[in-house]
Structure formats: C-alpha cells, structure tokens
Symmetry: C2
Subunit: 206 residues, 2 copies
C-alpha cells in the first residue's frame, strides 16, 4: 500500500472512496507502517500516503497518532476462538502455542509488538485496553481453560492454574523472540512444552 507520491491529486468523484472503505484503507496502512517501521517510524503523512489519500482525511477521523494506532490495533485483532480440545494438555498447549505464533508473526502481531516494545509507559497507557482486553486476557483465558481441563483429567496438579504459570508461555515466547530472534518453529514449541510446561504442570500421579 506504500506509494511514492506523497501529495496525491484528488481523484475524480466517482473514484473517491468514502466512509468505511477509506477508513479500512487508512487502518491497514497504519498496521502496515507499524509492522515495518514501528511506532517511531509511523507518521500521519506516511499513513496517508500508504492509503493513497491526503493527510486531511486521516486527521479528520483521528486527531492524533495515538488515536489512529489504537484503532488500527483494535481493527487488526484476530477473532476470539474456542479453546482446543485434542485429548491431552500437551496437545492442547501445543495448539495454543501454534496459534500464538501465527498471531505474533502476522501483520497485526508485528504491529502490536512494535507498540509494546517501543512505547514508554505513558504512551502505552493509551493502548493498555487493546493490548490487555484484545490479546493478553483472551490468551490467558484459553490457557486457563486448557490447564483446568488437565486438572479435571488428573494430568495437572490442582494448584497449577495461577498467574505465573499461565504467563509462562507468553513470557517465554516474547523473550526468545526479542533476545534470540526466535521464530518459534514447531520443534522449539515442543521443547518449551516438554521441558518447561509439562514438568511445571504435571501432578504427582500424572
């Protein structure tokens, strides 16, 4: 969507996009910029150019960079899914990890991570809602369901569904992605589940 002409001449009335179509183009361009040049590299001008529209069209709807990014992240959220139920906590966790990986390495995922990493706490306040309610809490909810089913099956110890245990997968995936540029291929995910999560979760009799 990035175009080289920064000042686009107004298109004929029949070709000018309106309403939802133009807004979608602007939000897409914002996600595109976030995922490539990050929060710091994103400019309202660059977004306008990427959406092949003028700056005024962007500012009219989103008075500030923060407003635009908050809406772009919200619009980019994946749909909420059901928890997997594949027969064992190992298989369920692996499936959740694969979904998390797909999310992390999608365009909205790169955009979200750029905001998480680059924004100082004051800026991040603005995105707290979309980060937590949009991504973190739904992920933890699915992990909790999977772990709870494992407790019911007797695979998992009864006291395992606590905040630190449930944060372990997101924390490890973010950490190794950032520090080692890990792309979390299937073997990495299996090693994490087998070496970290199963010993952490298993019951004395599991």
């Amino acid at each position: 969507m990035v175009t080289s002409h920064w000042t686009a001449a107004p298109a004929p009335a029949s070709l000018r996009r309106r309403g939802a179509v133009l807004e979608r183009a602007i939000l897409d361009a914002a996600l595109d910029q976030l995922s490539t040049v990050g929060w710091n590299g994103l400019t309202m001008e660059g977004v306008a150019a990427g959406a092949q529209t003028g700056k005024a069209a962007v500012y009219r709807r989103w008075p500030s960079k923060e407003d635009l990014v908050a809406d772009a992240l919200q619009a980019g959220l994946p749909p909420i899914e059901e928890a997997p139920d594949l027969g064992s906590v190992r298989e369920d966790l692996l499936e959740l990890c694969r979904r998390t990986r797909e999310g992390m390495f999608s365009r909205p995922g790169f955009a979200l991570r750029a905001v998480i990493h680059e924004c100082d706490p004051a800026q991040a306040e603005r995105f707290h809602g979309v980060i937590f309610e949009g991504v973190v809490e739904p992920t933890i909810k699915l992990l909790r369901e999977v772990v709870t089913r494992g407790i019911e099956r007797g695979e998992v110890r009864p006291d395992a569904a606590n905040g630190y245990v449930l944060d372990a997968i997101p924390a490890m995936m973010m950490y190794r992605s950032k520090l080692c540029a890990s792309e979390w291929d299937d073997r990495d995910l299996e090693e994490m589940i087998d070496q970290l999560m199963l010993p952490l979760l298993r019951s004395a009799k599991g």
Copy 2:
C-alpha cells in the same frame, strides 16, 4: 549531567578534561540519555551536551551512535559476582532475583532495556555481544550453578538444568516489567519463585 547549553565554549586549557576522564563523562552521558529518552531519543549532540563537551570530542572517539552505545553499555556492566549459597534453592533463587531486579532498575539496566526493546534486529546485532556475553550468559551461569547445587542436594529433579527452565526467570521479569510495569517487589519475587520455579524444579522426593 544534562546541560542546556548546546554549544559550550572551549574551556581554558587547565580545565579541559583529557583522555579517560572525558571519555568516562561521555559514556556516562550516553547511559543517562539511553535510560531516560532511550535509543531513539539519544543523539550525539545530546550526549556531547550532557558531557559538557563538543560534538567533535564525541565523534573523534565514536564514529557512530552504535559505536558509542555499545561502549556505554559495556562500561556500565556490573561486576561478575559469585553465585549465592544460602542453604536452599529457594533462598538462592530469591537472592539472584533481587540482584536481577537491582540490575534492571539501575541506570545501566534501563539503558540496556531501552536498546533491547527499541532496536530492530539489524541494529541489535551490533549490541548482541554486550547483551549476551555481558548480561544474559553471566545470569544464566549463576542460575545454572544454583539449580545444579539443588540437584546435588536432592531438592531439584536431575533433568531441570535446561535452557527453558533457566530462561524462565529472566523471561518472566522482562515480560511483567514491560506489560504490567511491574517493579518486582519482594512479594512479587517470592510469588514467582513459589508458584512457578519451585514446582518446576522440585524433585519427586523434594
């Protein structure tokens, strides 16, 4: 160290700092900038002003921002310590966590985290050495020593000293610091050790 006059008149010869003293002032100013305005906010001009010297004095020694930041991070590294030996893996891990917290919330710690979070993979390559050899590997080494001693004592299961287990504490501390602005007070550290690490490490008979 930050001063408001961006172009300092040359000081009299008797007051001009030389060699190691001036270099130390420049590296301190770089750490100061990194820890407050981050990698993106740091400029060679700002560092020169913070060190109360001219840009030329900075560029003469460090041709680029990357060179300067790499040396500043290196100079800010804490001394390598011995692993604690307090009688139990719980107490040893808590002591390592407290040291990690002090490091994270020190000025060099803030500087290092700014670089980790803000730099894209290409830039981060330049700092890979100081991040890994200076901080990550020494930390993992101490964690491994403590866990190994726990294995020898029979507190910890024999297969616990693997990469994912040893990464769990750094990953969790970085994650909650970034996502929740956690300051990891003593109670948070104890909860992490008791709810995450001890169940993960303990042997069947421990």
